[in-house]
């Protein structure tokens, strides 16, 4: 009766543990990487939503405060342009930040391994 055997299960647990440790580096560069990339994308989307950048771009030709005379439209256009540039800069900052995190994620294990080896050189 293999399903009820204690030894069978103990072995299974042991292999699971070993598999766990061996899988770790693979995970770091596959699923772990995808997970962190996904959460960074969510983070960026959240920032975008908070800044309302797309809304500003979509409405670039619509006058602010419903000022439909030509002066209003003109001022609005430039005002919106300034807003869009300013908000884009902020978003760009967050984009760079996210990229840095991803690069850090990729390089960090290599760096740590190198440092450990370095200790023995």
């Amino acid at each position: 009766m293999p399903t009820n055997s204690f030894i069978f299960y103990s072995l299974q647990i042991l292999t699971e543990l070993i598999r766990d440790v061996l899988y770790f580096p693979v995970w770091w560069y596959s699923r772990g990487l995808v997970n962190s990339a996904k959460s960074l994308l969510n983070f960026l989307a959240d920032k975008q939503k908070a800044l309302g950048l797309l809304i500003w771009i979509k409405n670039i030709f619509r006058p602010m405060y419903a000022q439909y005379d030509w002066q209003g439209m003109l001022i609005s256009f430039f005002m919106r342009l300034v807003q869009i540039i300013f908000r884009s800069l902020i978003l760009l900052f967050w984009l760079v930040f996210s990229l840095a995190v991803i690069i850090f994620w990729i390089l960090f294990p290599i760096f740590v391994i190198y440092e450990i080896i370095f200790q023995f050189l």
Partner: protein
């Protein structure tokens, strides 16, 4: 939420024919046919199976694995921490030696401490890995996507099932919370220890009680856990022990599936132990009977489970909501800055979206369909939606929910990035002439049109109707609004009560341009769930705790006895009143019981408490005895009335008619009115629960108005009395004297149990007892009785020959019983005389004066007062004249003192015996 309850019906179970759901063949190896699955469930186009392995070694090893994991995690944390400490120590040591920053570049240093640090970092990464894998492995309940169902219906055999794509198959035990898994394992351990060959629902149920969450449900239901456990133990002992190894029964597997699907349908992330309760009760009839004895049924448990889900959802929603609401602007501007400021509108309106953003609106439970209907109406091109429903059903709550949805931007496109403003009509109209109000409304509409990001909500829109500026038949306020809506300039939501809709809005321009959405009163279960969402607030505010039974009772009783208001508002009122009262009377942290609810309902509705607490069954069983303690003779009449009332109380009557209606016939003074009074006292608890109407006052057709009121606001005597105390006995004295038109009213009352008064309100008569008395044929009865005719035949001929001259046959037919009262005999009059003297005695005793009389005195009085024509009435007069007057004279003249005794002798003369001096 109601759909959650219905879903369970359609789950289909398939049991493996080879192993009969065991998952094992004879020798204990896995069944070849189903590869150990045993039972599968099909629900909504998906297949549910469980590969949870439950056996003694499996459980032991699962625990072993858990502790190994724990050890591994612990060592990871320790190594990680040690690395950081090592670095810190190294930095500390380096700072001792040097002043330059250069010296701190640890990545260039070689030291055992730094090695530990780097290894620690590896451990930290390992922690991240383990945590996120654990999170991923902890499979939560996955909600199937819309329309994602398998095409095949049900597989005929297992090989077909195995072929089905894995995306349509759901493994349920992965969705179990640790507590649920624990309960299952414990159940197995229990069965195993008791050598039961199968784990049955009762094993699982027994272990559920040990779980905190499930136990909380039973404590809200106010069940005595000790008693329940003792009873369960008896049931468990009754199961036969065997030698075969313990295994899961097919029923338990079905419970897993049903628990999972139940959790799925109520939007839960995990299967908690509580989700097993209902499926267990469905399968174990003994158990549900046992709970039924403790007055717990399916609905009650379900509502309490919903209660917990609701309070959990309240918190979850709040968190999600906070997250989503960050993006909603908190100013009057929209996100694209295209709106225009609306200073005047802001002055007259309340910003609902802003209130929702700051979490000031209450949670709305249920009402998903209604909100969907509102959105659909808007999407289909209507710019106005009218919520019509009785006051108190939660129209404003629905609007609040829409405001919350708008804050989350979870709304149709036309409502996105907009503000919902409630226009305060009282403010709009106050201190303004009609012309001024119209001007204000025009300005507001202009502002709304220009701003372009505003949705208006007008509560009680009927207040706008009929306000005109200028000449008669000029444009009125509502038409100004109607034209703005019809031109698609503004989006407007409004609410109106159902009566006012018919009266003011229907077929008017405003009614035509707006789509009507009917908001109905919720049923009792939904109302209970609505209340449950509010209970937390009242519990925190008044520091009292509600049992489930008290909430359910409040809903049930208010639904049953309060007619002019609607659920859930009327139950909320009651609950608030109870909370205040209980916290005052019993102090803080006390428990609200069912009897508190009954008391408040009785107070508010003037319904006798005994009716609500149902302590009356005893009274009803000995009704004849009770009546006879007040009334002498008339055995047939008393018996018939008592039987009728018992029938009514056992709910064997038609609910739509009054409790009972009788016609009492007989000469004057034989006890007709007395019996009516006695019934009122015994059945309703007091003689005061009686409305007495002298029908001789209603001899003309015009007096109809006096009876039921008129549209001009005159209140009807009958209708008002019954509206204010729906539980009462209506005594119609001398019925035959009333005008036929008035008698026709009672045709409807006795048939439908309701009457519409002059103002148009429907008055409920289903909790009334109607008793009509009449003297018709009094002489005939006396003659026949003297001639010795049986009572039945007298009744027959009375109805056929005498009554129909005065009353229409359909009216006579509608009475539950026509009861003939016999003339009194001397013996009965003697008993009555004694009763009356007793009454006098009680009155005198209150003054400390005694009354003594012998049998002769009673006989003398009876013979003096007896008159076959007038019954007991002359006796009353006689006792007044001969006894009470005499006593009064003596009190005034002799100065009757306390401890004196009045003696009535055999000649019915009154004398005084002086009391002893102190």
């Amino acid at each position: 939420m109601p759909e959650e309850q219905n879903n369970k019906i359609s789950i289909q179970f398939i049991t493996c024919p080879t192993c009969a759901g065991n998952g094992k063949t004879g020798k204990g190896s896995a069944c070849k046919n189903c590869s150990g699955t045993g039972v599968i469930a099909i629900y909504a186009g998906r297949f549910y199976y469980s590969n949870l392995l439950i056996s003694a070694p499996a459980i032991k090893l699962r625990h072993l694995k858990k502790s190994l994991n724990f050890i591994l995690n612990l060592s990871e944390y320790i190594i990680g921490l040690a690395g950081l400490l090592a670095l810190a120590y190294w930095v500390y040591a380096a700072s001792e030696k040097t002043q330059t920053l250069e010296a701190f570049s640890f990545w260039r240093a070689k030291s055992p401490l730094i090695l530990i640090f780097w290894i620690g970092l590896l451990a930290d990464m390992f922690v991240i890995y383990r945590l996120s894998e654990e999170e991923a492995a902890r499979q939560k309940i996955t909600k199937p996507k819309y329309n994602q169902t398998a095409e095949y219906d049900s597989p005929n055999n297992w090989s077909e099932f195995n072929k089905i794509k894995s995306k349509y198959k759901v493994e349920v035990s992965g969705g179990f919370s640790p507590a649920a898994l624990n309960a299952v394992e414990q159940a197995f351990a229990l069965a195993n220890r008791a050598r039961h060959s199968q784990v049955r629902p009762i094993h699982l149920f027994f272990n559920l009680l040990k779980d905190e969450g499930a136990a909380a449900i039973f404590s809200r239901l106010n069940i005595d856990a000790v008693k329940l456990i003792a009873k369960l133990k008896n049931q468990l002992l009754a199961i036969e022990a065997g030698t075969e190894p313990t295994e899961l029964s097919a029923e338990i597997k079905e419970i897993f599936f049903e628990g999972y699907i139940g959790a799925l349908n109520s939007g839960q992330k995990k299967v908690e132990p509580a989700h097993f309760i209902l499926p267990i009760l469905v399968r174990d009839k003994n158990l549900s009977e046992l709970l039924y004895d403790l007055e717990i049924d399916h609905d009650k448990i379900n509502n309490v489970i919903q209660w917990f889900i609701i309070s959990q959802r309240l918190m979850d929603n709040y968190r999600l909501y906070r997250k989503a609401s960050r993006f909603k602007p908190s100013s009057t501007m929209d996100r694209a800055y295209t709106a225009v400021a609306t200073p005047i509108l802001n002055h007259f309106a309340y910003d609902l979206t802003l209130a929702a953003k700051w979490g000031r609106l209450e949670l709305c439970v249920g009402r998903v369909d209604e909100i969907k209907e509102i959105f659909q109406a808007l999407e289909s091109g209507k710019n106005g939606v009218l919520l019509s429903g009785p006051a108190g059903v939660g129209k404003n709550m629905i609007i609040g929910q829409i405001a919350r949805a708008m804050v989350e931007e979870d709304v149709p496109k036309m409502l996105r990035d907009k503000r919902l403003l409630e226009l305060d009509i009282t403010r709009l109209l106050s201190g303004a002439s009609a012309a001024k109000a119209e001007e204000r409304l025009l300005v507001i509409i202009d502002e709304v049109v220009r701003a372009g990001n505003i949705v208006l909500y007008i509560n009680n829109i009927e207040n706008l109707m009929g306000i005109t500026a200028g000449e008669e038949e000029s444009l009125e306020l509502s038409e100004v609004l109607a034209s703005a809506i019809s031109r698609h300039n503004i989006i407007c939501l409004a609410s109106v009560s159902r009566d006012n809709y018919v009266k003011y809005i229907e077929n008017k321009p405003l009614g035509d341009v707006m789509a009507k959405v009917e908001i109905l009163e919720p049923d009792n279960n939904l109302a209970i769930q609505m209340l449950e969402s509010k209970i937390g607030f009242y519990e925190a505010k008044f520091k009292v705790y509600f049992t489930y039974a008290s909430i359910a009772k409040a809903v049930e009783l208010s639904a049953k006895y309060i007619y002019d208001k609607f659920l859930p508002a009327k139950a909320v009122d009651i609950l608030e009143a109870i909370a205040v009262k209980v916290s005052e009377a019993k102090g803080i942290n006390s428990l609200v019981g069912v009897e508190d609810v009954a008391e408040i309902i009785s107070q508010k509705t003037k319904i006798p408490l005994t009716k609500i607490t149902e302590k009356e069954s005893e009274i009803l069983l000995n009704l004849e005895e009770k009546i006879h303690s007040r009334m002498i003779g008339q055995d047939e009449a008393v018996e018939m009335v008592a039987a009728s009332l018992r029938r009514a109380r056992a709910e064997l009557r038609e609910e739509k008619r009054p409790i009972a209606s009788f016609l009492f016939l007989g000469p004057t003074g034989v006890g007709k009115t007395e019996l009516a009074k006695t019934v009122a006292e015994i059945y309703f608890g007091d003689e005061d629960y009686m409305v007495r109407i002298d029908m001789s006052e209603y001899q003309r057709g015009e007096s109809l108005e006096k009876m039921i009121g008129s549209p001009e606001g005159v209140l009807g005597y009958l209708t008002e009395a019954v509206r204010k105390s729906p539980f009462s006995l209506i005594l119609l004295d001398e019925l035959e004297k009333a005008h036929p038109d008035i008698l026709n009213l009672f045709l409807q009352v006795m048939d439908d149990g309701r009457l519409t008064d002059g103002v148009g309100r429907t008055i409920n008569f289903t909790n009334c007892i109607i008793i009509a008395t009449s003297n018709i044929g009094a002489v005939y009865i006396q003659d026949q009785i003297k001639a010795g005719a049986p009572l039945n035949s007298i009744k027959e001929s009375l109805i056929n020959d005498q009554l129909n001259k005065y009353l229409r046959p359909e009216l006579i037919n509608r009475f539950d019983g026509v009861i003939v009262f016999k003339p009194l005999e001397l013996k009965e009059v003697e008993s009555i005389a004694e009763l009356m003297l007793n009454k006098v005695k009680r009155l005198l005793e209150a003054k400390g004066i005694g009354l003594k009389y012998g049998k002769e005195a009673v006989e003398k009085l009876a013979s003096l007062g007896f008159d076959p024509k007038f019954g007991a009435r002359p006796l009353r007069r006689l006792i007044q004249e001969k006894i009470e007057n005499e006593i009064a004279n003596k009190v005034l003249a002799d100065g009757l003192k306390r401890r004196d005794t009045i003696v009535i002798d055999g000649q019915a003369r009154v004398s005084v015996e002086k009391g002893r001096k102190l």
